[in-house]
Point group: C2
Chain length 205, copies 2
Amino acid sequence: MRYSETHKAETRAKILKVAAAQLRTGGPKKLSVSEVMQAAGLTHGGFYAHFKSKDALLVETLRHSFARSRQKAMQAVEGLPPLHALDAYIDFYVSPIHRDHPANGCPIAALNSDSPRQSKKFRSAYDDGVHGLTEMICTLLQAADYEEPAELSRSILSAMVGAISLSRSVADKKLSDDLLQAARTGIKARLGLTDAALSRIAHER
Amino acid sequence: MRYSETHKAETRAKILKVAAAQLRTGGPKKLSVSEVMQAAGLTHGGFYAHFKSKDALLVETLRHSFARSRQKAMQAVEGLPPLHALDAYIDFYVSPIHRDHPANGCPIAALNSDSPRQSKKFRSAYDDGVHGLTEMICTLLQAADYEEPAELSRSILSAMVGAISLSRSVADKKLSDDLLQAARTGIKARLGLTDAALSRIAHER
DNA sequence: ACGATTATATGATGATTATCATATAAAAGC
DNA sequence: GCTTTTATATGATAATCATCATATAATCGT
């Protein structure tokens, strides 16, 4: 069949979208080509017209997820003054919403223990994503005049990833809530992001 | 064959030991019954004389790993005064050695993104392990007279887990080193564990 | 030494899965 | 409308894997 010019591209995009959710919820090993295709409304055979292999799909899916994730983060802090942007970003990342929706959350939090078991190309895409995130956080920190923003950004990312990963990994709801909240409080404390500090800044202008 | 009384128990222990390493390096999905048995010097068929199912093995393996991990942690801080114990524990956990040897490291760091995909029993064992660790850290904090030790212990655990998981997950060695070091520095900074503070305590007595 | 016991081995089964060769059919261009 | 192109479907293959029924053989108690 000869479809409209955009048809193949649309199908491909749909496969990627479906795969992006499956990758982050079930991990690379559980993502199955047939299941992805079925969820995209197709049958398994056509898959190889779109991707060279399952691994190629994984890599593209990961890059796609990082890009989307980044977009959403930017939106969350858009237009806010530096300290508030930082505060909003932490609230955005270290939140029950993020914890409860791995399917469209940060790939790092969803896949960190899978990454070491993946292909070189996958891990390279993963590294790019981590770099991107540290740089984004670093920019926020710089704007807010923190010292050693690069090192601090790495430490913050590490703490945020730990917060989501750990709180997702426990089954007990209360324990999860406690872990998440403690982690958020801790991160903010380290940055001196108290309510007092935030409102003081707001009034200074 | 009727072996010595302890023989079956020994074999079982060997299976568990082998499985413990495979679980933490490859994750639950990659651990294969045949591979485990082969690594234990046996053939696949005999497995079910020792464990009811693969999942049963996973659960027992996880508990075993948590117990061993805990032992090692206790050893690392044994006999040290409170603040130094805390400092030593952080150095022990957030270390390149730990990062580079997932096979006998903390199960939380190795399996956090796998946990949500596992059976109820597995997750329950996992939760027990997390509880155990927070309590251990809480005890250390209490001994060193920190305020809100319970909440603080959760925040510290979260940051430590993030540090190891994230630094393991990136392929780039330098990025990994930077992430790990930044995280360790950050955690200590939050606890006021500067060299100055540590030696001051040491001299006070 | 011998028979009973039982830990481990052999081999089979069915399920799942990635991959690919080939078939089908849709629509674009003439 | 008919041919050509090509996106998707069907179906096959081979690999991996958990599970289990049955066979084998080791040694303990006698």
